[in-house]
Symmetry: C2
Subunit: 236 residues, 2 copies
Protein backbone atom coordinates (compact mmCIF):
# COMPACT_ATOMS: atom_id res chain seq x y z
CA UNK A 1 0.00 0.00 0.00
CA UNK A 2 1.22 3.46 -0.92
CA UNK A 3 -0.47 6.37 0.84
CA UNK A 4 -0.90 9.80 -0.73
CA UNK A 5 -2.42 13.13 0.22
CA UNK A 6 -3.50 16.17 -1.76
CA UNK A 7 -3.94 14.56 -5.18
CA UNK A 8 -7.13 13.19 -6.76
CA UNK A 9 -7.41 9.48 -7.67
CA UNK A 10 -8.12 10.54 -11.29
CA UNK A 11 -4.76 12.28 -11.50
CA UNK A 12 -3.06 9.34 -9.80
CA UNK A 13 -4.51 6.93 -12.37
CA UNK A 14 -3.23 9.08 -15.23
CA UNK A 15 0.22 9.47 -13.68
CA UNK A 16 0.52 5.76 -12.97
CA UNK A 17 -0.86 4.53 -16.32
CA UNK A 18 2.66 3.74 -17.40
CA UNK A 19 3.32 1.50 -14.37
CA UNK A 20 -0.11 -0.07 -14.62
CA UNK A 21 0.58 -1.11 -18.26
CA UNK A 22 4.03 -2.49 -17.89
CA UNK A 23 3.07 -5.15 -15.36
CA UNK A 24 0.50 -7.58 -16.72
CA UNK A 25 -0.10 -9.69 -13.60
CA UNK A 26 -0.84 -6.89 -11.23
CA UNK A 27 -3.68 -4.51 -10.29
CA UNK A 28 -3.58 -1.08 -8.73
CA UNK A 29 -6.64 -0.15 -6.67
CA UNK A 30 -7.39 3.31 -5.33
CA UNK A 31 -9.22 3.84 -2.04
CA UNK A 32 -10.03 7.48 -1.34
CA UNK A 33 -11.05 9.07 1.95
CA UNK A 34 -11.25 12.84 1.58
CA UNK A 35 -7.90 14.15 0.43
CA UNK A 36 -6.08 10.90 1.15
CA UNK A 37 -5.85 8.11 -1.39
CA UNK A 38 -4.32 4.72 -0.69
CA UNK A 39 -2.98 2.82 -3.68
CA UNK A 40 -3.31 -0.92 -3.07
CA UNK A 41 -0.95 -3.01 -5.16
CA UNK A 42 -2.03 -6.57 -5.90
CA UNK A 43 0.27 -9.06 -7.63
CA UNK A 44 -0.84 -12.49 -8.86
CA UNK A 45 1.86 -15.13 -8.75
CA UNK A 46 2.28 -18.54 -7.15
CA UNK A 47 5.89 -18.15 -6.11
CA UNK A 48 5.97 -16.19 -2.84
CA UNK A 49 9.44 -14.81 -3.36
CA UNK A 50 8.62 -13.31 -6.69
CA UNK A 51 5.46 -11.71 -5.42
CA UNK A 52 7.26 -9.87 -2.66
CA UNK A 53 10.02 -8.74 -4.99
CA UNK A 54 7.45 -7.61 -7.53
CA UNK A 55 5.41 -5.72 -4.91
CA UNK A 56 8.53 -3.94 -3.66
CA UNK A 57 9.54 -3.05 -7.20
CA UNK A 58 6.13 -1.57 -8.08
CA UNK A 59 6.01 0.29 -4.75
CA UNK A 60 9.40 1.84 -5.52
CA UNK A 61 8.27 2.86 -9.02
CA UNK A 62 5.10 4.47 -7.67
CA UNK A 63 6.95 6.38 -4.97
CA UNK A 64 9.51 7.59 -7.52
CA UNK A 65 6.74 8.76 -9.86
CA UNK A 66 4.61 10.51 -7.21
CA UNK A 67 7.39 12.07 -5.16
CA UNK A 68 6.23 14.15 -2.21
CA UNK A 69 2.58 13.29 -2.77
CA UNK A 70 3.42 10.02 -1.02
CA UNK A 71 3.46 10.38 2.75
CA UNK A 72 3.90 6.76 3.68
CA UNK A 73 3.41 3.06 3.02
CA UNK A 74 1.60 0.18 4.71
CA UNK A 75 -0.15 1.14 7.95
CA UNK A 76 1.52 4.55 8.36
CA UNK A 77 -0.79 7.45 9.13
CA UNK A 78 -0.33 11.11 8.23
CA UNK A 79 -0.28 12.14 11.91
CA UNK A 80 2.37 9.53 12.74
CA UNK A 81 4.56 10.62 9.81
CA UNK A 82 4.28 14.31 10.71
CA UNK A 83 4.84 13.52 14.40
CA UNK A 84 7.90 11.44 13.57
CA UNK A 85 9.37 14.27 11.49
CA UNK A 86 8.78 16.82 14.28
CA UNK A 87 10.26 14.52 16.94
CA UNK A 88 13.28 13.70 14.80
CA UNK A 89 14.36 17.31 14.43
CA UNK A 90 13.24 18.39 17.93
CA UNK A 91 10.63 20.83 16.65
CA UNK A 92 7.37 21.75 18.33
CA UNK A 93 3.84 22.59 17.26
CA UNK A 94 0.81 24.53 18.44
CA UNK A 95 -2.54 24.33 16.67
CA UNK A 96 -5.45 26.76 16.41
CA UNK A 97 -8.68 25.39 14.96
CA UNK A 98 -12.01 26.86 14.11
CA UNK A 99 -14.11 24.75 11.71
CA UNK A 100 -12.33 21.46 12.55
CA UNK A 101 -13.16 21.95 16.24
CA UNK A 102 -10.26 19.96 17.71
CA UNK A 103 -9.91 17.23 15.07
CA UNK A 104 -6.35 18.26 14.09
CA UNK A 105 -5.23 18.20 17.73
CA UNK A 106 -7.06 14.91 18.32
CA UNK A 107 -5.32 13.21 15.39
CA UNK A 108 -1.88 14.52 16.35
CA UNK A 109 -2.25 13.47 20.00
CA UNK A 110 -3.44 10.03 18.95
CA UNK A 111 0.26 9.20 18.64
CA UNK A 112 1.96 7.99 21.86
CA UNK A 113 4.72 10.40 22.85
CA UNK A 114 3.12 13.31 20.99
CA UNK A 115 3.56 15.44 24.12
CA UNK A 116 7.22 15.74 23.05
CA UNK A 117 6.27 18.01 20.13
CA UNK A 118 2.59 18.96 20.58
CA UNK A 119 2.49 21.89 22.97
CA UNK A 120 -1.13 23.05 22.82
CA UNK A 121 -4.28 23.18 20.76
CA UNK A 122 -6.89 25.89 20.80
CA UNK A 123 -10.43 25.47 19.49
CA UNK A 124 -11.46 29.06 18.97
CA UNK A 125 -15.07 28.79 17.94
CA UNK A 126 -16.03 32.29 19.08
CA UNK A 127 -14.35 35.54 18.01
CA UNK A 128 -13.69 36.25 21.71
CA UNK A 129 -11.64 33.05 21.93
CA UNK A 130 -9.67 34.04 18.83
CA UNK A 131 -8.89 37.39 20.42
CA UNK A 132 -8.11 36.24 23.96
CA UNK A 133 -6.44 32.86 23.32
CA UNK A 134 -4.66 33.62 20.05
CA UNK A 135 -4.01 37.32 20.27
CA UNK A 136 -5.84 37.94 17.00
CA UNK A 137 -6.57 41.64 16.59
CA UNK A 138 -10.32 42.43 16.62
CA UNK A 139 -9.55 44.80 13.70
CA UNK A 140 -8.41 41.89 11.54
CA UNK A 141 -11.64 39.96 12.19
CA UNK A 142 -13.67 43.13 11.69
CA UNK A 143 -11.98 44.03 8.41
CA UNK A 144 -11.69 40.61 6.77
CA UNK A 145 -14.09 38.33 8.66
CA UNK A 146 -13.39 35.28 10.82
CA UNK A 147 -13.04 33.15 7.67
CA UNK A 148 -10.24 34.90 5.78
CA UNK A 149 -6.57 34.51 4.95
CA UNK A 150 -5.75 37.39 7.28
CA UNK A 151 -7.49 35.78 10.27
CA UNK A 152 -5.92 32.37 9.54
CA UNK A 153 -2.47 33.96 9.41
CA UNK A 154 -3.11 35.91 12.63
CA UNK A 155 -4.32 32.71 14.34
CA UNK A 156 -1.23 30.74 13.26
CA UNK A 157 1.18 33.48 14.26
CA UNK A 158 -0.69 34.12 17.51
CA UNK A 159 -0.76 30.52 18.69
CA UNK A 160 2.88 30.04 17.73
CA UNK A 161 3.96 33.18 19.58
CA UNK A 162 1.98 32.42 22.72
CA UNK A 163 3.06 28.77 22.81
CA UNK A 164 6.65 29.56 21.83
CA UNK A 165 6.78 26.68 19.38
CA UNK A 166 8.59 26.12 16.07
CA UNK A 167 5.30 25.95 14.16
CA UNK A 168 1.85 27.44 14.50
CA UNK A 169 -0.83 25.74 12.38
CA UNK A 170 -4.29 27.31 12.01
CA UNK A 171 -7.51 26.65 10.14
CA UNK A 172 -10.66 28.69 9.78
CA UNK A 173 -13.53 27.89 7.46
CA UNK A 174 -17.19 27.19 6.89
CA UNK A 175 -17.98 23.50 7.45
CA UNK A 176 -21.71 23.96 6.85
CA UNK A 177 -24.44 23.11 6.33
CA UNK A 178 -25.30 26.69 7.44
CA UNK A 179 -23.18 29.83 7.48
CA UNK A 180 -22.31 30.03 3.80
CA UNK A 181 -22.76 33.11 1.58
CA UNK A 182 -22.21 33.79 -2.13
CA UNK A 183 -18.85 35.33 -1.36
CA UNK A 184 -17.85 32.75 1.24
CA UNK A 185 -19.61 29.48 0.43
CA UNK A 186 -19.77 26.32 2.55
CA UNK A 187 -16.49 24.41 2.16
CA UNK A 188 -14.30 27.53 2.00
CA UNK A 189 -11.33 27.02 4.30
CA UNK A 190 -8.13 28.97 4.96
CA UNK A 191 -5.10 27.15 6.36
CA UNK A 192 -2.04 29.00 7.64
CA UNK A 193 1.33 27.76 8.84
CA UNK A 194 3.63 30.07 10.77
CA UNK A 195 7.25 29.44 11.63
CA UNK A 196 10.21 31.68 12.44
CA UNK A 197 10.14 33.16 8.92
CA UNK A 198 8.67 36.60 8.45
CA UNK A 199 6.16 35.50 5.80
CA UNK A 200 3.52 33.08 7.03
CA UNK A 201 2.44 30.54 4.42
CA UNK A 202 -1.31 30.20 3.78
CA UNK A 203 -3.69 28.34 1.48
CA UNK A 204 -7.25 28.92 0.34
CA UNK A 205 -9.22 25.71 -0.21
CA UNK A 206 -12.72 25.10 -1.52
CA UNK A 207 -13.80 21.64 -0.37
CA UNK A 208 -16.86 19.75 -1.53
CA UNK A 209 -19.00 17.40 0.53
CA UNK A 210 -21.00 17.54 3.74
CA UNK A 211 -19.92 18.98 7.09
CA UNK A 212 -17.99 15.85 8.11
CA UNK A 213 -16.23 15.64 4.74
CA UNK A 214 -15.22 19.32 4.77
CA UNK A 215 -13.81 18.83 8.27
CA UNK A 216 -11.90 15.65 7.36
CA UNK A 217 -10.44 17.22 4.20
CA UNK A 218 -9.37 20.30 6.17
CA UNK A 219 -7.55 18.16 8.76
CA UNK A 220 -5.77 16.14 6.07
CA UNK A 221 -4.75 19.19 4.04
CA UNK A 222 -3.48 21.02 7.15
CA UNK A 223 -1.39 18.04 8.29
CA UNK A 224 -0.04 17.60 4.77
CA UNK A 225 0.85 21.28 4.50
CA UNK A 226 2.95 20.86 7.67
CA UNK A 227 4.53 17.70 6.25
CA UNK A 228 5.49 19.45 3.01
CA UNK A 229 6.99 22.32 5.02
CA UNK A 230 8.99 19.89 7.14
CA UNK A 231 10.27 18.21 3.94
CA UNK A 232 11.40 21.57 2.50
CA UNK A 233 13.10 22.54 5.76
CA UNK A 234 14.85 19.18 5.85
CA UNK A 235 16.23 19.79 2.34
CA UNK A 236 17.41 23.33 2.93
CA UNK B 1 -32.31 0.86 19.31
CA UNK B 2 -31.87 2.20 22.81
CA UNK B 3 -28.57 3.93 23.54
CA UNK B 4 -26.94 3.96 26.98
CA UNK B 5 -23.78 5.33 28.55
CA UNK B 6 -21.90 4.54 31.75
CA UNK B 7 -23.25 1.07 32.42
CA UNK B 8 -21.72 -2.29 31.45
CA UNK B 9 -23.54 -4.69 29.09
CA UNK B 10 -23.40 -7.36 31.83
CA UNK B 11 -25.38 -5.12 34.19
CA UNK B 12 -27.78 -4.20 31.39
CA UNK B 13 -28.45 -7.89 30.69
CA UNK B 14 -29.22 -8.56 34.38
CA UNK B 15 -31.48 -5.51 34.65
CA UNK B 16 -33.35 -6.37 31.47
CA UNK B 17 -33.70 -10.11 32.17
CA UNK B 18 -37.30 -9.53 33.12
CA UNK B 19 -38.14 -7.82 29.81
CA UNK B 20 -36.14 -10.38 27.85
CA UNK B 21 -38.18 -13.24 29.38
CA UNK B 22 -41.66 -11.84 29.01
CA UNK B 23 -41.47 -11.51 25.23
CA UNK B 24 -40.90 -14.83 23.49
CA UNK B 25 -40.61 -13.60 19.92
CA UNK B 26 -38.00 -10.98 20.49
CA UNK B 27 -34.24 -10.69 21.00
CA UNK B 28 -32.22 -8.01 22.68
CA UNK B 29 -28.67 -7.57 21.37
CA UNK B 30 -25.98 -5.48 23.01
CA UNK B 31 -23.33 -3.65 20.99
CA UNK B 32 -20.68 -1.99 23.14
CA UNK B 33 -18.17 0.69 22.14
CA UNK B 34 -16.23 1.89 25.18
CA UNK B 35 -18.68 3.21 27.76
CA UNK B 36 -21.58 3.30 25.31
CA UNK B 37 -23.84 0.32 24.75
CA UNK B 38 -26.60 0.17 22.16
CA UNK B 39 -29.44 -2.24 22.82
CA UNK B 40 -30.84 -3.52 19.55
CA UNK B 41 -34.39 -4.81 19.79
CA UNK B 42 -35.44 -7.41 17.23
CA UNK B 43 -39.03 -8.63 16.96
CA UNK B 44 -40.13 -11.54 14.77
CA UNK B 45 -43.65 -11.25 13.40
CA UNK B 46 -45.26 -11.26 10.00
CA UNK B 47 -47.78 -8.50 10.59
CA UNK B 48 -45.98 -5.18 10.16
CA UNK B 49 -48.33 -3.25 12.42
CA UNK B 50 -47.82 -5.58 15.35
CA UNK B 51 -44.05 -5.50 15.01
CA UNK B 52 -43.90 -1.74 15.25
CA UNK B 53 -46.26 -1.69 18.21
CA UNK B 54 -44.24 -4.41 19.90
CA UNK B 55 -40.91 -2.62 19.25
CA UNK B 56 -42.29 0.61 20.70
CA UNK B 57 -43.63 -1.20 23.74
CA UNK B 58 -40.30 -2.94 24.48
CA UNK B 59 -38.42 0.30 23.91
CA UNK B 60 -40.67 2.04 26.44
CA UNK B 61 -40.15 -0.75 28.98
CA UNK B 62 -36.36 -0.61 28.59
CA UNK B 63 -36.24 3.17 28.94
CA UNK B 64 -38.44 2.99 32.05
CA UNK B 65 -36.20 0.34 33.59
CA UNK B 66 -32.86 2.03 32.80
CA UNK B 67 -33.87 5.64 33.52
CA UNK B 68 -31.09 8.17 33.04
CA UNK B 69 -28.62 5.59 31.76
CA UNK B 70 -30.48 5.96 28.45
CA UNK B 71 -29.34 9.00 26.53
CA UNK B 72 -31.24 8.42 23.30
CA UNK B 73 -32.83 6.14 20.76
CA UNK B 74 -32.30 5.33 17.08
CA UNK B 75 -29.52 7.32 15.46
CA UNK B 76 -29.13 9.90 18.25
CA UNK B 77 -25.57 10.56 19.39
CA UNK B 78 -24.37 11.62 22.83
CA UNK B 79 -22.94 14.88 21.47
CA UNK B 80 -26.21 15.73 19.68
CA UNK B 81 -28.25 15.04 22.82
CA UNK B 82 -25.95 17.13 25.03
CA UNK B 83 -25.84 19.89 22.40
CA UNK B 84 -29.61 19.88 22.12
CA UNK B 85 -29.98 20.24 25.88
CA UNK B 86 -27.51 23.13 26.01
CA UNK B 87 -29.16 24.91 23.09
CA UNK B 88 -32.64 24.44 24.53
CA UNK B 89 -31.83 26.21 27.78
CA UNK B 90 -29.45 28.76 26.23
CA UNK B 91 -26.43 27.53 28.17
CA UNK B 92 -22.82 27.60 26.99
CA UNK B 93 -19.78 25.39 27.34
CA UNK B 94 -15.99 25.60 27.31
CA UNK B 95 -13.78 22.51 27.32
CA UNK B 96 -10.23 21.90 28.56
CA UNK B 97 -8.62 18.63 27.52
CA UNK B 98 -5.35 16.95 28.26
CA UNK B 99 -5.31 13.20 27.51
CA UNK B 100 -8.17 13.35 24.99
CA UNK B 101 -6.27 15.95 22.97
CA UNK B 102 -9.26 17.65 21.36
CA UNK B 103 -11.61 14.68 20.92
CA UNK B 104 -14.30 16.12 23.22
CA UNK B 105 -14.30 19.42 21.31
CA UNK B 106 -14.24 17.58 17.97
CA UNK B 107 -17.30 15.49 18.90
CA UNK B 108 -19.24 18.48 20.22
CA UNK B 109 -18.49 20.63 17.17
CA UNK B 110 -19.51 17.80 14.86
CA UNK B 111 -23.05 19.05 15.38
CA UNK B 112 -24.20 21.82 13.01
CA UNK B 113 -25.03 24.95 14.98
CA UNK B 114 -22.75 23.97 17.88
CA UNK B 115 -21.24 27.47 17.75
CA UNK B 116 -24.41 28.59 19.59
CA UNK B 117 -23.28 26.85 22.79
CA UNK B 118 -19.65 25.79 22.28
CA UNK B 119 -17.47 28.79 23.08
CA UNK B 120 -13.94 27.36 23.08
CA UNK B 121 -11.82 24.29 23.58
CA UNK B 122 -8.30 24.16 24.92
CA UNK B 123 -5.94 21.24 24.44
CA UNK B 124 -3.45 21.85 27.23
CA UNK B 125 -0.86 19.16 26.66
CA UNK B 126 1.95 21.04 28.40
CA UNK B 127 1.89 22.42 31.94
CA UNK B 128 2.68 25.86 30.48
CA UNK B 129 -0.54 25.69 28.44
CA UNK B 130 -2.52 24.72 31.56
CA UNK B 131 -1.09 27.72 33.38
CA UNK B 132 -1.36 30.33 30.61
CA UNK B 133 -4.58 29.24 28.85
CA UNK B 134 -6.55 27.94 31.84
CA UNK B 135 -5.21 30.00 34.70
CA UNK B 136 -4.25 26.85 36.63
CA UNK B 137 -1.93 27.73 39.51
CA UNK B 138 1.58 26.24 39.10
CA UNK B 139 1.33 25.38 42.82
CA UNK B 140 -1.62 23.08 42.19
CA UNK B 141 0.27 21.17 39.48
CA UNK B 142 3.40 21.12 41.65
CA UNK B 143 1.58 19.83 44.72
CA UNK B 144 -0.78 17.29 43.17
CA UNK B 145 0.58 16.58 39.68
CA UNK B 146 -0.93 17.30 36.25
CA UNK B 147 -3.10 14.19 36.59
CA UNK B 148 -5.07 14.86 39.77
CA UNK B 149 -8.53 15.86 40.93
CA UNK B 150 -7.17 19.24 41.99
CA UNK B 151 -5.73 20.00 38.53
CA UNK B 152 -8.90 18.78 36.77
CA UNK B 153 -11.01 21.06 38.98
CA UNK B 154 -8.67 24.01 38.40
CA UNK B 155 -8.79 23.40 34.62
CA UNK B 156 -12.61 23.24 34.57
CA UNK B 157 -12.98 26.36 36.72
CA UNK B 158 -10.26 28.17 34.78
CA UNK B 159 -11.65 27.53 31.32
CA UNK B 160 -15.17 28.40 32.49
CA UNK B 161 -14.02 31.65 34.07
CA UNK B 162 -11.92 32.75 31.10
CA UNK B 163 -14.60 31.84 28.56
CA UNK B 164 -17.46 33.19 30.70
CA UNK B 165 -19.63 30.16 29.97
CA UNK B 166 -22.27 28.31 31.98
CA UNK B 167 -20.14 25.16 32.13
CA UNK B 168 -16.46 24.31 32.14
CA UNK B 169 -15.64 20.68 31.39
CA UNK B 170 -12.10 19.35 31.88
CA UNK B 171 -10.25 16.05 31.64
CA UNK B 172 -6.71 15.08 32.58
CA UNK B 173 -5.35 11.57 32.59
CA UNK B 174 -2.83 9.01 31.41
CA UNK B 175 -3.85 7.53 28.06
CA UNK B 176 -0.71 5.40 27.77
CA UNK B 177 1.04 3.30 26.71
CA UNK B 178 3.81 5.21 28.56
CA UNK B 179 3.60 7.62 31.48
CA UNK B 180 2.00 5.32 34.05
CA UNK B 181 3.29 4.71 37.59
CA UNK B 182 2.20 2.42 40.46
CA UNK B 183 0.38 5.32 42.06
CA UNK B 184 -1.02 6.73 38.81
CA UNK B 185 -1.40 3.86 36.32
CA UNK B 186 -2.27 4.08 32.63
CA UNK B 187 -6.02 4.60 32.27
CA UNK B 188 -6.35 6.88 35.32
CA UNK B 189 -8.46 9.89 34.36
CA UNK B 190 -9.97 12.78 36.31
CA UNK B 191 -13.00 14.58 34.90
CA UNK B 192 -14.29 17.84 36.36
CA UNK B 193 -17.37 19.89 35.59
CA UNK B 194 -17.63 23.47 36.83
CA UNK B 195 -20.71 25.65 36.79
CA UNK B 196 -21.83 28.65 38.79
CA UNK B 197 -21.99 26.58 41.99
CA UNK B 198 -19.18 26.94 44.51
CA UNK B 199 -18.35 23.23 44.58
CA UNK B 200 -17.04 21.83 41.29
CA UNK B 201 -18.10 18.25 40.63
CA UNK B 202 -15.31 15.75 39.76
CA UNK B 203 -14.88 12.04 39.07
CA UNK B 204 -11.93 9.67 39.24
CA UNK B 205 -12.03 6.92 36.59
CA UNK B 206 -9.78 3.95 35.97
CA UNK B 207 -10.29 2.85 32.37
CA UNK B 208 -9.00 -0.35 30.80
CA UNK B 209 -7.83 -0.82 27.22
CA UNK B 210 -5.24 0.72 24.91
CA UNK B 211 -4.56 4.42 24.32
CA UNK B 212 -7.43 4.81 21.84
CA UNK B 213 -9.89 3.01 24.14
CA UNK B 214 -8.91 5.08 27.20
CA UNK B 215 -9.38 8.24 25.13
CA UNK B 216 -12.77 7.16 23.75
CA UNK B 217 -14.05 6.11 27.19
CA UNK B 218 -12.90 9.44 28.66
CA UNK B 219 -14.78 11.42 25.98
CA UNK B 220 -17.96 9.40 26.49
CA UNK B 221 -17.83 9.64 30.28
CA UNK B 222 -17.16 13.39 30.19
CA UNK B 223 -20.05 14.04 27.80
CA UNK B 224 -22.32 11.85 29.90
CA UNK B 225 -21.32 13.64 33.10
CA UNK B 226 -22.41 16.89 31.46
CA UNK B 227 -25.66 15.26 30.29
CA UNK B 228 -26.45 14.01 33.81
CA UNK B 229 -25.75 17.48 35.20
CA UNK B 230 -28.06 19.07 32.62
CA UNK B 231 -30.78 16.57 33.57
CA UNK B 232 -30.45 17.43 37.27
CA UNK B 233 -30.51 21.16 36.54
CA UNK B 234 -33.59 20.69 34.40
CA UNK B 235 -35.39 18.99 37.29
CA UNK B 236 -34.47 21.48 39.99
Amino acid sequence: MVKTCGVSPIKLKVWLKHIDRENRYQTLNYVTDGEETTIIITVRNDIQHDVEKKLASIETQIIKKLGNYVYGTGKQTLEAVVGGMLAECGQTLAVAESCTGGMISARLTDIPGSSDYFERGVVSYSNEAKISLLDVSPNVIEAHGAVSAETAVAMAEGVRWLAQTTFGLAVTGIAGPGGGTDEKPVGLVYIALADEQAETQWRRCQFSGNRMMVRIKTVQTALDMLRQRLLTRGES
